[in-house]
């Protein structure tokens, strides 16, 4: 065991390994990826035209979905090939030795295929921010169109395309928002590992994620897709070429989500340092584990559902076509069977991050650690039994309605645990109102409104009034944006000093928080009322009497959008223009990730740490350090080898 857990770094550093394999990695980066992706797109289109141009449906409709689907698929494959994500399997196929991508190369390594989880994490940060800002710009367009109930800026076709793109991009982004950037960057550091369980799978999931981004954007030049992010059939079957981008894009992103979840779960289960018992696992890692389970078990349903849709549109199958033996209810069920766990894929990591930050900024132990972890597992389990609450008015068998009302409302019990953990930790605390702490408090404020409105939606009679209205829209923005996105930015302010080695400007950070918090609420609270007053979602025309509220929400939304510019300015200013080095542990955290030097070495820990105490012993007099980093010479290490994982020679009290 000694040889496996505490191998010295010398001789193990990836950069010292021979390049091996096909030797292509050093020449590959996003530019080659673009070139090969374009080639793949053209090749796919050509093959699709050869196969599909003779079809009666293609000749009659003038739209060759076979060519579009193959072009997008080959384009995505080309992207992966061009970046070098397929080098390893290809080398194996031809019997060459495995290839290790170079780790050196300064900033260029962020534009390459990398196996360092910290590089992949930063790549994810940039990629998810790109998603977020693209989706955000589309949101500005939506709010502009809704400034007037009858005078149109975009027109109905463009509007519906923008609505669909906004929803889909944001959902894709939010699914990976925390898991991708922070999950990949932090989890190995938090559990005392030098890497993820499957570094190639980790990098592969990132490049799939970026491919999905480009694929979903190709919908716009093809006229978009008219279904919104929910993609309901038979409108899906009827729609133009943009629908193929939606289906292929979701399948690609979905595959990336499954791989990322599976890799994170494997890492957490198998790569924990000695002494990192389940009872000492940071609460953020618990949330990532619960989310990983959802990613692995729920997302395959989406991929299959998307595949059926692709087959209906290309091979003329009839999964969702009623008159040929299929059912439009099939898509609704499959989509929401994924779609509701998806909601918690987006919520749980936010809870975990807040649970991680609160003890640091309150100077107190996390209240009800076990209850918090149990709450996350409870939410994850229950989330598979609630999907039909999206279909209360659909005409599906009404017998099931009370059951799904019950399961949905039951979710508020484990969600309540998360509130208990937060509020309990605040009790008689010494709060430091740093930007991350403000974002944490805002999450509780926002998510309370999101959660309570969710109980209203789960109630079938109330659902008759508000289903499909702006009330639903405001509700899920309160949970996803008010919860996850706030937690994400709190997390960025908290962890970026470690990730980048630079201190973010505090004044700009505070300005970002206050503008975002105030105008988030001023945007979405009026929209709750707009929904109650009868405005359906995704309409470009609405009742004249609702114009003042809509205009108020639009103006607030513009300022909310501008708040992200403050973040960008802060990021650019603090990282590049006026960089100030960050201390190793600026917040005084006990987290394992803060105990390593800044910048974090490629191999994270010189010696695998032995965890000797609980992670949240803040304010406890004479609390032992969280881990022993002494390597083979330290007593804790010897004790760990002897099987006493607590390292203190005594049985653990828990």
């Amino acid at each position: 065991m000694a040889s496996t857990i505490d191998t010295p770094i010398a001789g193990r550093h990836v950069s010292t390994r021979p390049a091996g394999g096909l030797g292509l990695n050093r020449y590959q980066n996003v530019f080659t990826a673009f070139v090969v992706a374009a080639g793949g797109y053209l090749l796919g289109h050509y093959i699709g035209n050869v196969i599909g141009s003779g079809y009666v449906s293609v000749q009659g409709g003038g739209q060759n979905d076979v060519a579009i689907v193959l072009a997008l698929t080959f384009g995505a494959l080309g992207w992966l090939l061009g970046i070098g994500a397929l080098n390893y399997p290809l080398a194996k196929l031809v019997g060459a030795s495995p290839e290790y991508p170079p780790t050196e190369g300064g900033w260029m390594r962020y534009f390459r295929f990398s196996l360092d989880h910290k590089v992949v994490g930063m790549q994810y940060v940039i990629a998810t921010l790109l998603f977020l800002f693209t989706g955000g710009l589309l949101a500005m367009a939506i709010r502009t169109e809704l400034l007037n109930p009858t005078i149109h800026v975009l027109g109905p076709g463009t509007y519906i395309a923008v609505v669909g793109e906004h929803g889909t991009i944001m959902m894709m982004m939010a699914s990976s928002l925390v898991i991708g950037p922070l999950g990949n960057w932090l989890v190995p550091l938090m559990i005392g590992s030098r890497r993820m369980a499957f570094p190639r799978v980790e990098a592969f999931s990132l490049w799939l994620f970026t491919a999905g981004y480009m694929v979903i954007l190709t919908a716009l030049p093809m006229g978009g897709f008219p279904t919104g992010w929910t993609g309901y059939a038979p409108l899906q079957t009827q729609a133009g070429g943009g629908m193929d981008s939606y289906l292929v894009g979701f399948a690609i992103i979905g595959t990336g989500m499954v791989l990322a979840g599976f890799n994170l779960a494997a890492t957490i289960v198998t790569c924990r340092a000695p002494g990192m018992t389940w009872g000492r696992l940071p609460i953020f890692v618990w949330s990532v584990l619960a989310t990983a389970a959802l990613l692995v078990f729920a997302t395959p349903t989406l991929i299959c559902a998307g595949l059926f849709g692709i087959l209906d549109r290309t091979a003329q199958t009839a999964f969702y076509v009623n008159e040929h033996g299929g059912s439009s209810f099939l898509w609704e069920n499959l989509f929401w069977f994924f779609g509701h766990p998806e909601v918690y894929i987006m919520a749980l990591p936010g809870f975990g991050m807040v649970g991680e930050m609160l003890p640091v900024f309150t100077g107190k132990q996390l209240f009800g650690y076990k209850v918090g972890a149990a709450g996350m597992i409870g939410v994850a389990l229950l989330s598979f039994f609630v999907w039909q609450h999206h279909l209360f008015q659909s005409g599906i068998n009404p017998d099931m309605r009370p059951l799904f009302m019950l399961t949905t409302e039951l979710i508020s019990i484990p969600t309540g645990f998360i509130f208990l953990v937060g509020l309990g930790t605040l009790w008689k605390a010494r709060m430091r109102m740093e930007p991350p702490m403000l974002f944490c408090l805002a999450l509780y404020f926002n998510f309370l409104i999101g959660g309570i409105t969710g109980v209203f939606l789960s109630d079938v009679p109330v659902n008759v009034t508000v289903h499909g209205s702006f009330f639903v829209l405001a509700h899920f923005h309160y949970t996803i944006m008010g919860g996850l996105v706030f937690a994400f930015f709190g997390g960025l302010y908290y962890w970026l000093p470690k990730m980048t080695g630079k201190t973010l400007n505090r004044k700009l950070s505070l300005a970002h928080f206050w503008v975002m918090f105030i105008f988030f609420n001023l945007t979405f609270f009026p929209l709750l009322i707009v929904g109650l007053l009868g405005q359906p979602r995704r309409v470009f025309e609405y009742a004249q009497r609702l114009q003042p509220l809509n205009d108020f929400a639009s103006v607030s939304a513009y300022i909310l959008g501008a708040s992200f510019l403050i973040f960008i300015a802060n990021f650019v200013w603090s990282i590049w223009i006026d960089p100030k080095p960050a201390p190793t542990n600026p917040w005084g955290s006990r987290g394992l990730e803060w105990q390593v030097p800044t910048p974090v070495p490629a191999y994270n820990f010189e010696h695998i740490p032995v965890i000797v105490s609980d992670p949240y012993l803040y304010g406890v007099p004479d609390a032992p350090p969280v881990a022993d980093f002494g390597g083979a010479s330290s007593p804790a290490y010897a004790a760990a080898l002897a099987g006493d994982t607590a390292g203190d020679g005594a049985a653990r009290s828990e």
């Binding site: 519906i160 659909s394 409302e409 499909g468 309409v539």
Partner: protein, 314 residues
């Protein structure tokens, strides 16, 4: 063993919370509640309004509890206000466990109350105005139910009155003080029939008869909107209906039946669902599962399918 005393902090918070809840709950219920959507035009609308109000009255103290707690914490427990030498509060493990158990019990009881009340409000007003599919389980007790077929198509609503020869019109007229069964279906993609002030909402699925019941209680105009994204003109798919006195309705229905008789002959025979023409885009459709109906029987509003529902439930 000394009993831990409740701190002043808790007492202050509970007092503020109790006062706020005791003031805001009644103000909401009696001042704002009666004006809440979707109004009281039908029994299902009134039921939904009451349900919303009861949930708000339940939720308001929960929200206030969290907000008061957080506000109190932010004001009083910030580092700048607490002397540096104050020892950090460490929760007594036994007390912490008691708080956790109490929290779980309180949330569980609140949830079960919301669930029980929601089921009551779903079952008693015959499905609360929501679409119950082709085989409704919660049906009105009245035998006199007027069936109205709602047909969604890209991008307008039409209505057929099987009781009056199955004429089809874009005007939605409903008699007051009558039990109505909306049979909602679609000729193309999924739409959603949302009669806002009636408290009725049901998806219009192709080849599916989605039934929603309501009992009209006031005359007046109501809005109909499509509530499921159905393509580019989804936002323009709305119109208005009217609840009119019974006599006015029968006068309108019989005269419209006579006026449209020649056009009704050209329509596909009345059916609960229709199958689009195999050639698709030309807009043609033909009846599917034609239910034979007897005109005399229908004129007495004893619809064959509705009678079956009654028999099923009796």
């Amino acid at each position: 063993m000394s009993t831990p005393r409740r701190s002043n902090d808790l007492r202050t918070m509970v007092t503020i919370w109790l006062i706020l809840s005791a003031v805001l709950d009644p103000v909401y219920f009696w001042v704002i509640g009666p004006h809440m959507p979707p109004g009281t035009m039908t029994d299902s609308a009134a039921g939904q309004q009451f349900d919303i109000n009861v949930l708000v009255v339940t939720a308001l103290p929960v929200v206030l509890a969290v907000w008061v707690y957080m506000a109190y914490a932010v004001i009083n427990w910030r580092a700048s206000k607490i002397p540096a030498d104050t020892p950090v509060f460490v929760a007594d493990p036994k007390r912490a466990t008691r708080i956790q158990v109490a929290w779980i019990l309180v949330t569980a009881v609140t949830v079960m109350w919301a669930f029980g009340f929601g089921v009551y409000e779903l079952v008693v007003p015959a499905g609360a105005g929501g679409g119950e599919g082709p085989n409704p389980v919660w049906t009105p007790t009245s035998k006199n139910i007027l069936p109205i077929q709602v047909i969604g198509q890209q991008w307008l609503w039409t209505y057929r009155y099987p009781t009056f020869g199955g004429f089809e019109t874009t005007q939605l007229m409903i008699p007051n003080n009558t039990e109505i069964a909306f049979h909602v279906t679609s000729l193309d993609v999924i739409h959603d029939f949302w009669a806002y002030q009636l408290g009725v909402k049901a998806d219009a699925n192709p080849q599916e008869d989605n039934v929603a019941f309501t009992h009209t209680a006031q005359v007046g105009r109501f809005t109909v909107r499509c509530d499921e994204l159905c393509g580019i003109w989804h936002g323009a798919m709305y119109d208005y209906g009217h609840i009119v006195p019974k006599a006015t309705f029968y006068k309108w229905a019989t005269s419209t039946e006579a006026k449209l008789a020649s056009q009704t002959k050209l329509l596909p025979p009345f059916a609960w669902i229709y199958t689009p023409d195999a050639n698709g885009a030309d807009g043609g459709y033909y009846p599917n599962n034609v239910v034979p109906y007897n005109k005399t029987e229908l004129y007495s509003s004893q619809h064959v399918r509705i009678t079956q529902y009654g028999a099923k439930n009796s």
